[in-house]
C-alpha cells in the first residue's frame, strides 16, 4: 500500500511539472471559443460523473446504512427522514442538471450574444414561493415529530441513568420505587463510582451496572426515560439504532426517552441486518486470515448488538467508549433485573 502511495505521488508531481514547463510558453490566457467548446463538453462529462457517483454511492453503499429504527419514536423520525430525503434528492437531481446543462448549452461563441435578461418578477415569485411551501410542510411535520419525541409522558416508564466518564459508561436503574436516588461527584468513593447519595432513601434500591459489565438490558415495548450525567467532560450518549442521542453535561441532568420496539434477537433476524452482518463477518474473516499469516491473533468473532457510543469529543479514547444494549421481552427483562443486586446490597 505504501509503495503504491509513493508511486502515485511521484506520478502526480511528475505530470504536474511536465505540464508546467510546457504550458508557460502558451500565449493565450483568456478562454477562446475552442476552450469554451472543450470546457462546455467537459462540464457535461462532469455532470455524468457526478450523477454516476451519486447513483454508484446509493447502489454500493445502501447496505451500510442503518437498518429500520428499533424504537417507536425512531419510527416516527424515520417517516420524516424519508420524506425529507426524497424531497432533497428530487431537488438535487433537477437543480444539478440545470447547472451543468446550461453551462454546456450556452458555452460561449464569438457569433453569439447573451440575452440581456435582468429580472423577472414572476420567476422570482415562483422560486420564493415553491421552496417556502415545501419548507413550511417540512417545518410543521418536523416540529410535530420533535415534540412527540422530546415530550414523553412519564407513566410507567422505566427510568435509567446513563453516566459518561473518560472513557466508559455506567448505568443505573431506578429500582422498585421508580425513582433515582440523588447523586453528585462529591460522593464518589470506592465502589460508589457514580457518586450516589446513599443517605437518600430512593437510592437504596437503585441498580448499578459498573464499567466492568459491558452490557445492559432494556425491555421491549416499554417507554424508557434516560437521565444523562457526566463525571468530567462533555460526552454524548448516542444509540443510533434507536435514533437516540443526548449530550451528557457535567453539572446538569439531561433527558431523552424512547420505547424499544425490536429485541436484539429480532434485529439480528432483520433481513437488512443479516446482509450487513454477513458482510462484516466476511471482511473480518479476510482480515483475520492476513493477521494469522503474519503470526498475529485473529479478530474476535462478531455478533450484532445494539450500541451505546460516545459522540462528543471527550479525549484520547473518545473512539472507544462503548456499551452493548440488550433489548429483551419484558418478562425476560423483569427476570434479569430481579437478579441484580441493589446498591444497598453492594455498598
Amino acid at each position: 500500500m505504501l509503495a503504491l502511495f509513493y508511486i502515485f505521488i511521484a506520478l502526480v508531481i511528475a505530470t504536474a511539472f511536465w505540464q508546467i514547463t510546457n504550458i508557460f510558453n502558451l500565449k493565450e490566457v483568456i478562454a477562446t471559443d475552442k476552450d469554451n467548446e472543450t470546457q462546455g463538453k467537459l462540464m457535461l462529462g462532469f455532470m455524468l460523473f457526478f450523477y454516476g457517483l451519486m447513483i454508484f454511492s446509493f447502489w454500493k453503499y445502501y447496505s451500510v446504512l442503518l437498518p429500520e429504527a428499533a424504537s417507536l419514536e425512531g419510527q416516527t423520525i424515520e417517516g420524516l427522514y424519508i420524506a425529507t430525503m426524497l424531497m432533497i434528492l428530487i431537488a438535487q437531481g433537477l437543480v444539478q442538471f440545470l447547472i451543468f446543462w446550461f453551462t454546456y448549452k450556452y458555452r460561449g461563441n464569438k457569433n453569439n450574444k447573451a440575452l440581456h435578461y435582468a429580472d423577472s418578477h414572476k420567476l422570482e415569485m415562483i422560486w420564493t414561493i415553491v421552496p417556502t411551501v415545501a419548507l413550511a410542510g417540512l417545518i410543521i411535520y418536523g416540529l410535530t415529530v420533535w415534540s412527540d419525541v422530546m415530550y414523553p409522558d412519564n407513566d410507567k416508564a422505566l427510568i435509567v441513568e446513563v453516566y459518561g466518564k473518560q472513557f466508559d459508561w455506567e448505568v443505573r436503574y431506578a429500582g422498585k420505587d421508580g425513582v433515582l436516588g440523588k447523586a453528585n461527584v462529591h460522593n464518589i468513593k470506592g465502589q460508589n463510582t457514580m457518586g450516589v447519595d446513599m443517605t437518600d432513601e430512593n437510592a437504596k434500591d437503585d441498580i448499578h451496572i459498573p464499567t466492568t459489565v459491558k452490557e445492559f438490558y432494556l425491555p421491549k415495548g416499554r417507554k424508557v426515560i434516560f437521565k444523562f450525567r457526566s463525571q468530567d467532560v462533555l460526552h454524548s450518549a448516542f444509540m443510533p439504532h434507536f435514533r437516540a442521542q443526548m449530550n451528557c453535561v457535567p453539572g446538569m441532568v439531561t433527558q431523552f426517552a424512547f420505547t424499544p420496539s425490536m429485541t436484539t434477537e429480532e434485529m439480528r433476524a432483520n433481513p437488512k441486518m443479516i446482509d450487513k452482518i454477513a458482510n462484516i463477518k466476511q471482511i473480518r474473516l479476510e482480515k483475520s486470515e492476513v493477521l494469522l499469516k503474519e503470526g498475529k491473533e485473529a479478530l474476535e468473532p462478531y455478533e450484532f448488538d445494539y450500541l451505546l457510543l460516545c459522540n462528543k469529543i471527550c479525549g484520547a479514547t473518545h473512539f472507544n467508549m462503548q456499551k452493548k444494549i440488550k433489548v429483551v421481552e419484558s418478562a425476560e427483562f423483569d427476570k434479569w433485573i430481579a437478579e441484580q443486586k441493589t446498591l444497598n446490597e453492594v455498598l
Binding site: I9, V29, Y117, T132, D232, P250, I283
Partner: protein, 584 residues
C-alpha cells in the same frame, strides 16, 4: 489620501508595513495561502490515519515528532490535527484569507475610493492577523501538543489539561491567537463598513454597487455583531482556565479528585460559541457568493439575474444567520422548545439560499459563457453549494438532527456547503482578479487542470461521506476499528482518503501557477475580461491612490452586459447613458 504618489516609499513601507489596500490584500492572500497549505496537509495526515488505522507511515514519523510511535499516529495528535485543521480552514483561510484579500482589494477599487477609510487601521488589522497566525503555528510545537478539543473548543475538555494534554499550553496559545484574530477581524470589518458607506465615488449609489461589494459589506456587519461574542466567550474560558472562575464548569471529578468548580455550565459556552459560530459560516460564504455573482455575470456576458432579489437575500441571510445558532446544539440538553424555535428559523434560511441559487442558474441561461477557470470555479460553487445546502435541510430539522448530529454526515454537509464552496469562490476570485493584483495573467491550462482535478476530488471525498454518517459513524474518532459494527465502512474510508490525497496534490498545480505567474505570467491588459466595474479603469501598474487623475464618476449599474442597443457586449460603469438609453 489625496497626496498620493508624493511621499517616498521605502522597502519597508511599501512591502511590509504598507498602508495601501492593494498591498495589504496581497499580504492577506499570501498568508491565507500559507495557512491553507498547512490546513490541507493536516487533513491529508488525519485522513490517512482513518483509512489505514494505526498503520505506520514515514510521513508521520517525519512530521509528527514525538506524537507518533514508530510511524503510528497517537490518538491525541489525531484530535489535535482535526482541531487545528478546522480552526485554520475556517478562520485563517476562509475568513481572513478570503474576506481580507478581496474586501481589501475590491472595496476601494470597485466603489471608486483612493484607499480604505483608515489605511493605518487596515495595516494594523493585517499585522494582528499575521501575529495570530504565527501564534497558532507556534502552538503546533508545544511539548504536549496543540489544542485538541475540536475547533469548537467546548469546555470542560478545553479547560482541563487533565482531560487532554492539548488543553494545556496549546489551548492557551489557541485562545491568545484567536483573541488577536478577533481584534484583527473587527478592525478590518469596521474599516470595510465605513469605507463602503462614506467613500463611494460620485454616482455610486448603493443600488449601483456590484454584488461583491454588497456581500463584503454585509459580511463585515455580521462580523462586527458576532465576533465580540466569541471574544467574550474566549475571555471567560481563559478565566476558568487560569483564575479558577466557574463560568462553564461545575461538578467535575477527574484524575481521582473533585475539582472546586461549582455552578457553571458548558451549555452557556455552546450558546456563546455558536452565536458567533453560525454567523461565521456566512462570514465565510457570503464573500464567496459575492465573488461568484460578479465573476459569473462577467463571464456569462449577462447581467446577474435579479440584482435586487440578490441584495434582499444577502440581507435576509445575514439577519437570519444571527438567530439560528441553536441548531448546532439541539441535543445539548437545552429546552426542547428552543429546539423548535431554532428549527423554524433555520429552515427559513433555505428560502433566500434557494432564491440565490436559482438566480445564478438563470444568469447562466441564454448566456454567452466564457469558460475561463474563474467561471468554472463559480459554476462549481453553485453545484457544491446546492449539494451541501440541501443536506442542511436534514440537519436543520431538530428531529432528524438527533441521529446525525456529530456524525460524518455533518462533516460532508459543511465541507460542501461552506468549505469547498468558499474555497471555490476564493479560487474564482484569485483567477479573476490576479491581473489586478499582480499585473499579469495566470496560466489558463493549469487553471483548467486545477479545476477539474479539484472538482472530481471534492465530490469524491465528500459525497460518499454522507453514507458513512448515515451509517452512524461519529466524527472525531481516531479509528473506527474499536467497533466491529463499522468494519464495512473501511472501504469507503480508503476511497475517500485517496480522493483527499488527489485533491490536496491538485493544489500544487494552483500553487505553481500562482507563484510562477507572479513573475512569468503574460502581462495583463487593462480590462482583460471586458468587465464593467471600476477596478478595470485603474492602470495595470499599481499606483498609490488607484487612479492617476480624478476618480471617475459612475453613471450606471455594474451589469450592463449585452445590453441591446449598445455596440459592445459590456459597458463600463463610467460611461454615461447614451441618448435615449434606459437605465437598467
Amino acid at each position: 489620501m489625496s497626496d498620493h504618489g508624493h511621499h517616498k516609499e521605502t522597502f519597508i513601507t511599501k512591502y511590509i508595513f504598507s498602508q495601501d489596500h492593494k498591498m495589504i490584500s496581497k499580504q492577506y492572500l499570501i498568508t491565507g495561502i500559507f495557512m491553507g497549505v498547512v490546513g490541507v496537509f493536516m487533513s491529508m495526515l488525519f485522513r490517512m490515519q482513518i483509512a489505514w488505522p494505526e498503520h505506520s507511515f514515514s510521513i508521520f514519523e517525519a512530521f509528527l515528532g514525538s506524537h507518533q510511535t514508530d510511524g503510528v499516529m497517537d490518538p491525541d495528535i489525531y484530535l489535535a490535527l482535526v482541531t487545528i485543521h478546522g480552526t485554520i480552514m475556517v478562520f485563517f483561510v476562509l475568513t481572513a484569507g478570503l474576506s481580507g484579500t478581496f474586501s481589501n482589494l475590491l472595496i476601494p477599487l470597485q466603489i471608486g475610493a483612493r484607499d480604505m477609510a483608515s489605511g493605518f487601521l487596515n495595516m494594523i488589522s493585517y499585522w494582528l492577523f499575521f501575529l495570530s497566525s504565527l501564534i497558532m503555528i507556534l502552538s503546533l510545537f508545544v511539548q504536549a501538543g496543540p489544542a485538541a478539543a475540536g475547533w469548537t473548543v467546548y469546555p470542560p475538555l478545553s479547560a482541563l489539561p487533565q482531560a487532554i494534554p492539548g488543553s494545556g499550553t496549546g489551548m492557551t496559545l489557541w485562545l491568545v491567537s484567536m483573541a488577536i484574530f478577533i481584534a484583527s477581524s473587527l478592525l478590518g470589518a469596521l474599516n470595510y463598513i465605513v469605507t463602503v458607506l462614506n467613500l463611494r465615488t460620485k454616482g455610486m449609489k448603493m443600488t449601483r454597487l456590484p454584488l461583491s461589494i454588497w456581500s463584503f459589506f454585509v459580511t463585515a456587519i455580521i462580523g462586527v455583531v458576532s465576533f465580540p461574542v466569541l471574544l467574550a466567550a474566549a475571555l471567560l474560558l481563559m478565566f476558568d482556565r487560569s483564575f479558577g472562575t466557574s463560568f462553564y464548569l461545575s461538578d467535575i471529578f477527574i484524575g481521582g479528585e473533585v475539582l472546586h468548580y461549582q455552578g457553571g455550565s458548558p451549555v452557556l459556552f455552546e450558546h456563546l460559541f455558536w452565536f458567533l459560530g453560525h454567523p461565521e459560516v456566512y462570514i465565510v460564504i457570503l464573500p464567496a457568493m459575492g465573488i461568484v455573482s460578479e465573476v459569473m455575470a462577467v463571464n456569462a456576458r449577462k447581467p446577474i439575474f435579479g440584482y435586487r432579489a440578490m441584495i434582499t437575500s444577502i440581507i435576509a441571510i445575514a439577519f437570519l444567520s444571527t438567530i439560528v445558532w441553536g441548531h448546532h446544539i439541539f441535543v445539548s440538553g437545552m429546552n426542547p422548545f428552543l429546539g423548535s424555535v431554532f428549527t423554524f428559523t433555520t429552515l427559513l434560511i433555505a428560502i433566500p439560499s434557494a432564491v440565490k441559487s436559482f438566480n445564478w442558474i438563470t444568469t447562466l441561461w441564454k448566456g454567452n459563457l466564457q469558460l475561463n477557470p474563474a467561471m468554472l470555479f463559480s459554476i462549481g460553487f453553485v453545484s457544491t453549494f446546492v449539494t451541501g445546502g440541501l443536506t442542511g435541510i436534514v440537519m436543520g430539522d431538530s428531529a432528524l438532527d438527533i441521529n446525525i448530529h456529530d456524525t460524518y454526515f455533518i462533516i460532508a454537509h459543511f465541507h460542501l456547503v461552506m468549505g469547498v464552496s468558499a474555497i471555490y469562490g476564493m479560487f474564482a476570485g484569485v483567477y479573476h482578479w490576479f491581473p489586478k493584483m499582480y499585473g499579469r495573467m495566470m496560466n489558463k491550462t493549469l487553471g483548467y487542470w486545477h479545476f477539474w482535478i479539484t472538482a472530481i476530488a471534492a465530490y469524491g471525498v465528500f459525497f460518499p461521506m454522507h453514507f458513512v454518517g448515515l451509517a452512524g459513524l461519529p466524527r472525531r474518532y481516531y479509528t473506527n476499528t474499536a467497533f466491529p459494527y463499522f468494519d464495512d465502512l473501511a472501504d469507503i474510508n480508503v476511497v475517500m482518503t485517496w480522493f483527499a490525497i488527489l485533491g490536496g496534490l491538485a493544489q500544487l498545480i494552483f500553487l505553481a501557477n500562482f507563484f510562477i505567474s507572479i513573475y512569468k505570467g503574460k502581462k495583463a491588459t487593462q480590462n482583460p475580461w471586458r468587465a464593467n466595474t471600476l477596478e478595470w479603469t485603474t492602470p495595470v501598474e499599481h499606483i498609490h491612490g488607484n487612479w492617476p487623475g480624478e476618480i471617475p464618476e459612475v453613471h450606471r449599474w455594474a451589469y450592463d452586459y449585452s445590453k441591446p442597443g449598445l455596440d459592445e457586449d459590456f459597458m463600463l460603469q463610467t460611461v454615461p447613458l447614451k441618448e435615449g438609453e434606459e437605465p437598467s
